[in-house]
Amino acid sequence: MSEVMVNPSGSVPPPAPAKPVERRDRVIIRFAGDSGDGMQLTGDRFTSASAIFGNDVATLPDFPAEIRAPAGTLPGVSAFQVHFADHDILTPGDAPDVLIAMNPAALRANLKDLPRGAEIILDADEFTPRNLQRVGYSADPRADESLAAYTVRELPLTTLTRAAVADSGVGKKDAARAKNMFALGLVSWLYSRPLDTTRGYLEKKFARAPQILAANLAALNAGYAFGETTEDFSVRYEVAPAADFPAGRYRNISGNLALAYGLVAAGRGCHRPVFLGSYPITPASDVLHLLAGMKQFGVTTFQAEDEIAGIGAALGAAYGGAIGVTTTSGPGMALKSEMIGLAVALELPLVIVDVQRGGPSTGLPTKTEQSDLMQALFGRNGESPVIVIAAQSPSDCFDTAIEAVALATRTRTPVILLSDGYLANGTEPWRIPAVADLPTWDPGFATTEQWQDREFTPYSRDPVSLARPWALPGTPGLTHRIGGLEKADVTGAISYDPANHDTMVRLRQAKVDAVAATIPPLAVDDPDGARVLVLGWGSTYGPIKAAVQAVRAGGQSVARLHLRHLNPLPRDLADVLPRYDRVVLPEMNLGQLATIIRARYLVDVISVTQVRGLPFTSGELTGVLKDVIASVD
């Protein structure tokens, strides 16, 4: 361990680095520590700085299901991976180039993901015999061969931080808690990241706690200075801003935030208030929290007594003419089944957001999965078709939310929007749309005038969309009764007539199928006439696209198609699929969309599945694609 000089002042680090700078086109860093170590914040700040610097970024937070698992234990490890690059990237990266391990637990939990040659920065202060033993290390891994394959930087982070913040006046505990900022400063130096956005962030956050602010700023600066000064680091790196972004103003955004924004935009789009009826559940709760803070945009949020009440209230609000939305995750989705069925029978617009997580049952609440597709399609009694669409990236949640509301209001049919834990919490840069460019439409309520010459028939239909009239209570002349019993075609009166039931079942299906006619033509990404098509949906977008790029970079051809519309499927899919010798379909489930595609098109889809609660790595997909390509050659 080298002696170091710490610069505890809040001054800006020397602008011209004294050490040589090497260029990298992309870097993957994983911050890992105790749940209480602030790793999510650290990662988030590093990401922001990188994004503002102009890199493309993608992130993967990975935190325990416990609120605060006991310090220093394996289950208590919280990690945040950020991938930043000078070019368009699509995933948070397969394997970290650098691991920041704030304690032995963080090292142990993450080591298996590190490729040989990776760099490890660890807090040596935490490698006490007790801590090591707590996570099952019988011997200090630093002492044996365990870490031989890596470049290890052992730094007394806690000691260094304490020293750095000594003057700030905070107590011992708060001093130690600033060590994430020391680490952030150090890594910022190492990758030539600016510190100013983080400083601004801290100033705002701790505006009312000047001592803690001082400590955090001191730690941040000290970390930066430490990098510059210590002999541990002989070189620093630089990742140039990405050039391939379309012009515009950007921000970094998570899927849940984009979803919340999208719902607000949709309410604005059709001039209706948004009503969210929801019950907290990981990883969907943040949408509730975020929308609860957007009341100024006419959004009402209602935390219901359970999931059924949440969707019931949303349906009641939709009946009254609001944009009724409910948000949940898998188990909550199961509880909503019966009410979704009612919405199908009532033929009212309703948006159901399922932020999927690992299942079955309570499963893996904080992990990601795509395993609710079948539930979304079929999880109700009777023939109960709904529209199902899926977002493909964090920022895409914005557009998908708008589309979900538009489809629901136009067809007067429930729409299920599938997101997942990875999209919800992962982030990426987003080109902020101009508000004036956002879509607007008319919800087209039934009016007294339209019906003044004839009896109102709540189950008559638009000839093209097959949508029924949406007649709001309060509209004179249109009083009517609807319910979950089968209804007579056109009049909506209760009907037990056999032929009518058959007609109505097929009409509801036809109405959903008719949406296919409104889906834009598929844009297959196939620059050079490949023989293998890789098909995807939802959050596999990034890993698949990255794998396709890797395959192409290797000189091979592969086509790519990502589906947003899962029910109904796009009409031209029937034309696309037969063009290829092989269709590969990676999913984070046991092959749910593959089942649908096989059934529908009788194509012998190669279903590639993993259910690890984590996104595919682009590396594994690259391997799979290469194998399939080889098999057709």
Binding site: S48, I52, F53, G54, Y201, F245, P246, A247, Y250, R251, Y261, V264, A265, G267, R268, H271, P273, F275, G277, K295, Q296, F297, G298, T300, F302, A304, E305, I308, A309, I311, G312, A313, A314, L315, G316, A317, A318, Y319, G320, G321, A322, G324, E338, L342, I432, A434, V435, A436, P473, G474, T475, P476, G477, L478, T479, H480, R481, I482, G483, I494
Partner: protein
């Protein structure tokens, strides 16, 4: 001015001939004009059960939803549509068995809705199983040797959930039911009206004690705001406070008139209303109070929710004018942005 017949629909009423639901329907239809609200601004929402067919027979807006969940739809509607008069119709199974949780939460939230709970102490629509209000030991299709569950009293449950308006009425007592409906409709917040309703097919005569002129007088304790609680022939019986603070029934003649409890539904402590509820014997229906147990004023969830939104909207201006688009643009941009040219 509307009349009862304006609230009739073309739908053929499909309850069993003789069902108590007919009487309730007739009373509600004849009460409706007094509301002074146009038909299109009235909504009836129900769950599933014989009672829950009610909306089909009201020429208003109506939703026949799913079993036990009517209060949830009413919740979303009441929060977003203050211009409507919202009525929930439920049964003892719909509202207290599968839907018990929504009921207590709607009551504690004090939403602007009126809940009519048709209590026939049986499952009618599914042909005669016992319900949570069935008396202990009842032999039904699903309990050939008699039920084992101690019954729920909707009044006591509602009071336990801190309901602001709780009342009970009888299907066949048009005047009494109308009075209670009136009070419930005037109440600001959630009103629960339990209506004893005869199911003449599966539980016939369940409330005969309260209807038969020879027994009704001694069985019913009429609750009249501000009046001493006396009942029976010539007010021969009275409700007085027991030594331990509870309530008991005594001969009016034998007690000091000052001892007779004066009914006050407006007191904020629900204890007395709770005590009144417990005077009734669930088995014999002896000493069943009828009328308004509790009616207090408290803020309504939906009013407060709208106020939060309206205040926020008023500050930001959105979206009717379009003036809020700047605010929305600022929201979308958030704190940290960068520009790519």
């Amino acid at each position: 001015m509307l009349a009862a017949k304006d609230f009739k629909t073309d739908n053929e009423v499909r309850w069993c001939p003789g069902c108590g639901d007919y009487a309730i329907l007739a009373t509600v239809q004849s009460f409706m004009p007094a509301l002074g609200i146009p038909r299109e601004r009235i909504v009836f929402i129900s769950g599933i059960g014989c009672s829950s067919r009610f909306p089909y027979y009201m020429n208003t807006y109506g939703v026949h939803s799913i079993h036990g969940r009517a209060p949830t739809l009413a919740t979303g509607l009441s929060i977003t549509r203050p211009d409507l008069s919202i009525w929930v119709v439920t049964g003892d199974g719909d509202g207290l068995s599968i839907g018990g949780n929504h009921l207590i939460h709607a009551l504690r939230r004090n939403l602007n809705i009126t809940i009519l709970l048709f209590n026939n102490r049986i499952y009618g629509l599914t042909k005669g199983q016992y319900s949570p209000t069935s008396e202990l030991g009842k032999v039904t299709k699903s309990t050939p040797l008699g039920t084992l569950d101690r019954p729920l009293d909707p009044i006591a449950l509602a009071l336990g959930a801190n309901a602001t308006f709780v009342a009970r009425a009888l299907d066949s007592d048009r005047a009494g039911l109308t009075e209670v409906l009136q009070a419930a409709a005037q109440h600001s917040g959630a009103a629960l009206v339990e209506i004893y309703q005869n199911c003449n097919i599966f539980n016939d005569g369940a409330f005969d004690t309260l209807k038969d002129s020879t027994t009704a007088g001694e069985s019913i304790i009429p609750l009249r705001q501000g009046e001493p609680i006396v009942f029976g022939p010539q007010g021969s019986q009275a409700v007085v406070r027991a030594a331990d603070g509870g309530l008991r029934v005594a001969e009016t003649a034998a007690v000091d008139p000052a001892e007779i409890v004066v009914h006050d539904a407006h007191r904020s402590d629900p204890t007395q209303a709770f005590a009144l509820a417990h005077l009734a014997d669930p088995h014999t229906l002896q000493h069943t109070p009828i009328g308004v147990f509790r009616s207090i004023s408290a803020p309504c969830y939906d009013d407060l929710a709208r106020r939060q939104v309206n205040d926020a909207v008023a500050q930001a201006g959105f979206p009717e004018t379009g003036a809020g688009d700047d605010a929305f643009a600022a929201l979308l941009a958030g704190r940290d942005t960068w520009v790519v040219d």
